[in-house]
């Protein structure tokens, strides 16, 4: 099937009032969720997965990917207006966006963020289509040993690229992997770690665990740091940047979009790293670097185009190999599983309408985001000012009903609250929760492929299979190098502090 034919199938999925309404609703929810500080794109997608339960798989994934792409733009609204990034990646947007608001040019900041997000998102989708399709074709030839090595590489890069303590990220991944071993063993049928409790035979259901780790833990964190302070928002102007101003930043948008997509492809890198690197590179390439940090439109454009384009990049390994490139992709992988779909090369063969439906929906979602953003920003700003005292209780009831809806089981609700508490504890002591989720979603792939490879060809298969061997070496390097760097950093800082104490 050629690309044109595939896209005909893709667009046929999204043509009709129902998919279009779903895309519009998804974009609005995504922008609002992204704009609310404390709600990350992964939280927003996790909370909405249960709502997609009774939809057809294609429509459900169209809804969730529309939320995903729009939430990255949504994060910039509060970053520009009140210096409170709605998403972690929007922190870079705030560097120049908020100074623009202080100068009375909030409209220019928001307009630049919107256009840069739209163009970045479109470039990301274009690269996604160009990369994912051939990669999926190659992946059809992969052996179980290759898949095991790739999944392990995915886990390794997540651990190495996570901010802060690498050791803690690895422990979080291992926690997720161990949790995934609970239940009936998929190969031998032996019941593992179930304590003869039939509720554990299928292990922990993924969606309640995701909702607990991403949404409930956020509310518990807010409880601990509760000050009762409301949100304050000044009056803002709504004047958009001129065409001449857009033309001045066109190369920045283009460059940052490409950088963002490429960084997004690497599992674990994510939108935040993409935004930081693009911002830095744009500053170096700019003819007015001194303006960066003081309200530069180039700065806003670099950050926003990079974080939006990283969405397309991160979807490449998810769709082509079944390896999530970011925390939100891990949640999306859960949504695929909920609808009995397995992302990877076979998805392109067996369900082209899903893959090309998602591609087409992402293109349309970008256009919808531009239109809604141009006319709806003022309204979104009002919604975002909903008091936290109302928003957080609502998040909890949505989390509870969402967990129950998956299987109609109160056990899942209990698991959701339990994972919420675990998530809070982990985050309190600097352990990221995204690696736990990646461990849970990749655990099955790692174990099944490892054991199949050994059963087929013995343990020697991992060095006889060249691709598996190389990828395993790279994965090993990805595990060891950041640990070594962290150890050296600790040694250096300890040496410095000892020196200063002596002097």
């Amino acid at each position: 099937m050629d690309l044109a034919e595939s896209f005909t199938i893709g667009f046929s999925v999204i043509l009709g009032w129902k998919p279009i309404v779903i895309i519009i609703v998804g974009v609005i929810i995504g922008i609002l969720a992204g704009a609310m500080p404390g709600l990350s794109p992964s939280t927003a997608v996790a909370l909405l997965v249960p709502f997609s339960y009774t939809m057809s798989p294609a429509l459900a994934l169209i809804l969730l990917t529309s939320i995903y792409i729009a939430s990255n733009y949504g994060g910039s609204i509060t970053a520009v207006l009140i210096n409170t990034p709605g998403t972690p990646s929007a922190a870079v947007t705030a560097f120049d966006g908020y100074p623009l608001t202080q100068q009375g040019k909030a409209g220019k900041g928001l307009g630049t963020a919107l256009v840069a997000s739209t163009i970045g998102g479109a470039i990301g989708v274009a690269i996604l289509i160009l990369f994912a399709v051939p990669l999926a074709r190659i992946a059809l030839k992969f052996s179980p040993a290759d898949y095991f090595a790739l999944a392990l590489f995915g886990l390794a890069t997540v651990a190495s690229m996570s901010r802060g303590n690498v050791l803690k990220s690895m422990i979080a991944i291992l926690f997720g992997l161990i949790i995934k071993t609970i239940g009936i063993d998929p190969i031998s049928g032996v019941s593992r770690f179930t304590f003869d409790n039939d509720l554990l035979y299928d292990g922990f259901t993924l969606i309640p665990a995701l909702i607990g780790l991403f949404a409930v833990s956020v509310v518990f964190e807010k409880f601990e740091s509760w000050t009762g302070a409301g949100r304050v928002l000044d009056k803002i102007d709504n004047k958009l940047p001129s065409l001449a101003e857009f033309m001045k930043i066109k190369y920045t948008i283009l460059r940052s979009s490409i950088i963002g997509t490429i960084i997004g492809i690497f599992p674990g890198a994510g939108a935040t790293i993409a935004a930081f690197i693009s911002y830095d590179m744009s500053k170096r390439a700019s003819s007015e670097p001194e303006k960066f940090g003081h309200g530069s439109l180039e700065g806003v454009a670099a950050a926003e185009s990079a974080n939006s384009s990283s969405v397309g990049g991160a979807l490449v390994p998810l769709l082509a190999l079944g390896i999530p490139g970011s925390a939100t992709d891990a949640v999306l992988l859960g949504a695929f599983m909920l609808h009995d779909l397995v992302p990877g090369p076979m998805l392109f063969q067996n369900n082209p309408e899903i893959v090309y439906g998602i591609f087409s929906a992402l293109i349309v979602a970008n256009i919808v985001m531009l239109i809604i953003g141009l006319y709806g920003n003022r309204l979104f700003i009002k919604v975002v000012t909903v008091p936290e005292a109302v928003m957080f209780p609502l998040i909890l009831v949505i989390a509870i009903i969402g967990s129950f809806a998956v299987n109609g089981s109160m056990f899942d609700v209990g698991a959701c609250i339990g994972f919420g508490m675990i998530g809070w504890l982990f985050k309190r002591y600097g352990f990221p929760v995204a690696p736990i989720v990646l461990g849970i979603v990749l655990g099955k792939m790692v174990e099944e492929n490892f054991r199949r490879a050994v059963m087929m060809d013995g343990y020697g298969t991992f060095y006889r299979d060249k691709l598996a061997f190389i990828v395993l070496l790279v994965a090993l390097f990805s595990f060891v190098w950041p640990l070594y760097k962290s150890w050296r950093h600790h040694r250096k800082t300890r040496g410095d502090s000892t020196k200063s104490e002596t002097t």
Binding site: L167, V190, E224, A389, F392, L394, V397, V413, M421
Partner: protein, 182 residues
């Protein structure tokens, strides 16, 4: 190790691990490195959990690439890495504990959430959700009765229409169900 993999042996093993875990954190709490006691909770719990599961793996059939292989692999790395982190806690080579926030307030919120979980079975989803939302908003110092009422009843109405009627999710009705079928 097979004795500890099931029955009374497993109970004994888990009790020992629990006591050892608590002892480790308490030892740190009352030592010179007390600022790292909180940091030790997660690695200690990970080691205890891993060792508990490790004992259970001895009840699995032993075969090449069998059901025990991968869990043991994760357990090995987990004990090793959590052990290193625990060592860092004892030597003060990791981050110090964060300042304690409003833990009492958090505990109230968590208890309220757990209470909500249990009340769903007794009072039913709709009544419990209304009460939970109202109580939590009150706890978070929101004092606009009309808005509270509108938000609570709005959510109940929304969940009834979307989940109960449109998505056919059989939300627990609690004692209302008994009245309905009497």
């Amino acid at each position: 190790m097979e004795y500890f993999s099931a029955g009374s042996g497993l109970v004994l093993w888990s009790s020992l691990l629990f006591l050892a875990g608590c002892g480790t954190v308490l030892a740190l709490r009352f030592s010179k490195k007390k600022d790292y006691a909180g940091q030790a909770i997660v690695p200690t719990a990970m080691i205890a959990l891993s060792l508990l599961l490790w004992a259970i793996t001895f009840s699995f059939p032993s075969e090449e690439a069998g059901p025990a292989v991968v869990p043991r692999l994760w357990i090995f790395w987990s004990v090793l890495l959590a052990g290193i982190l625990l060592l860092f806690c004892f030597t003060g080579r990791t981050d110090k504990d964060p300042g304690s926030g409003r833990l009492g307030f958090l505990l109230t919120g968590v208890i309220l959430t757990i209470g909500y979980f249990f009340s769903i079975e007794i009072l039913g989803y709709f009544i419990s959700s209304f009460l939970f939302l109202a109580l939590l908003m009150y706890l978070l110092s929101y004092r606009k009765p009309l808005v509270v009422f509108l938000v609570c009843s709005g959510w109940v109405l929304f969940s009834y229409i979307i989940f109960y009627k449109l998505l056919y999710i059989q939300l627990p009705l609690g004692f209302i169900e008994n009245f309905m079928y009497q």
